[in-house]
Amino acid sequence: MIEIKDLNVDYFGSSALENVNLEIPFGHTVGIIGPNGAGKSTLIKALLEVIKKRTGSVRVEGRDISEYKRKIAYVPQKNDIDLTFPITVKDTVLTGTYPNLRIFQRPGKKERERAEECMAMVDISDLANKQISNLSGGQLQRVFIARALAQGANVFFLDEPFVGIDMVSEKIIVNLLKHLREEGKTILVVHHDLHEVEEYFDKIIILNKKLIAFGDVKDTFTTGNIRAAYGASLGNVIIKGAGGAEYD
């Protein structure tokens, strides 16, 4: 379980997240949704201590998250990563094994094999020796997912993994996330829109600086909650039973 207590985060002087309290049970695929600027990415970054919290504590399985970080794989937004860095696909995936290596220790045969397996899982083995700047958006996202897999983590944080990718890549990633869930992994995904919410996730966090709602998709993904989060910015939203959101 991930326990978030009294989380307050400032961003350039103004408040980005206010009083977030959450208990996320393990073993689910959890979508984080909300309008632009709602603090979705900020939530993930604050949990991982990439940005500073003003107040609050985050505990995983009863311990402070800093003791658990090596077991959490983080896939940031694609444009957060320097794509001009001189590094090949296979070396990028290999960096996923770094959290499990000691200082001074270099990745060995075991780590290289692990990286190859992970590349195969997202079907990028043929790109192994390409430089990452030469890839399409979808291929790139698969590289970063493979890197996260190589870490052998229990918990995955993904920031907008479906933005700017092709349908083949989306399908591969969605199937992989399902597979991970079946293995009992916990997956948190920042999601950019209201489509596919019901298909991808079994729980959702609805956020707009404050926590609007958290729970099973079928109970939480409601017109009322979405209106509360998006306000007037979306016009009239009606969540239909099976079809997801529709807007006019």
Binding site: K69, P76, P86, I103, Q131
Partner: protein, 280 residues
């Protein structure tokens, strides 16, 4: 050993020292410069190399080891730049400008106190004809130490340069590696004082690394090629400056930048010939 080599190749000792020290500087600054370039810290590198000046002056006045004084001021400058940026809305290039110039000014003032002992021109522009044996040995040791640190901490330096956010997320102390590189930078600046001087050391850090970047697809290749480009610039620069009686540090830099210009045009990665002119 230098004397044996001097006899063997029939080159005067001072020329051999100059050549060797230029090669050593080329190797170490190419390797370290690769990280400076990839971490987008070229301006920061320039600031630190200037900021060691008061450290050099104080070490001389107080009679302490110059490496100690210089690293201290280099680190202090790095910390102050970070401090100004994080405690205000002033952008980092501005805080770099403030610290660079003020440390440099302080250094100039301190050097006048040291009076006759220190020659400002030599510190600023180098004086490769007067590289003493002890300094050559010191540069060689610094090179070995820098290479050893890069080899041992290669994985950490790679990930904190390539993807500092993910590195931080899994618990790597990225701040430590930042200041480690800043300290190495200060030390290398000191070891390069005799060869190129404070003003042009940034050229040795940035130009070979940028040249190498245009040809390589992995970090390790970039580091090795940058060191080679640095060494070649160094030795060719020294040779030309002796032959044509030119200022050595400036000649080394101009050789380096010629290699960069050729790479800029010919490198397949940059692809200038096919697309460059159209973009302009």
């Amino acid at each position: 050993m230098i004397n044996v080599m001097s006899d063997l190749f029939n080159i005067p000792v001072y020329a051999l020292n100059a050549g060797l020290s230029a090669i050593i500087l080329g190797i170490v600054s190419g390797a370290l410069g690769s990280f400076i370039v990839l971490r987008k810290m070229s301006l920061m590198g320039d600031a630190l190399s200037h900021a060691v000046l008061p450290g050099v002056a104080l070490s001389y006045i107080l009679g302490i080891n110059i490496l100690l004084g210089a690293s201290l001021f280099g680190l202090l400058a790095a910390i102050l730049i970070q401090f100004i940026t994080s405690r205000s809305t002033i952008k980092s290039d501005t805080s770099i400008g403030i610290i660079l110039s003020s440390f440099f000014a302080l250094g100039i003032v301190l050097i006048t106190f040291a009076k006759s002992g220190l020659d400002l021109t030599h510190i600023l522009f180098g004086n490769i004809l007067a590289v003493p044996q002890s300094e050559l040995t010191q540069s060689f040791i610094i090179m070995l130490v820098v290479i050893a640190i890069i080899v041992l901490l290669y994985k950490e330096l790679l990930i904190s340069s390539f993807d500092p956010v993910v590195a931080k997320a899994y618990g790597l102390k990225t701040g430590f590696y930042h200041y480690l590189l800043m300290m190495l930078l200060s030390v290398v600046t000191v070891s390069s004082l005799s060869q190129v001087g404070i003003v042009l050391v940034i050229a040795m850090l940035v130009i070979p690394a940028a040249t190498s970047y245009l040809w390589t697809h992995t970090l390790i290749h970039m580091i090795v090629l940058a060191s080679a480009v640095g060494a070649v610039s160094g030795i060719v620069g020294v040779y030309l400056s002796f032959g044509f009686n030119l200022p050595t540090s400036a000649t080394i830099v101009l050789v380096g930048v010629s290699l960069f210009a050729v790479s800029f045009i010919l490198s397949p990665k940059n692809n200038f010939l096919r697309k460059g002119l159209k973009q302009g």
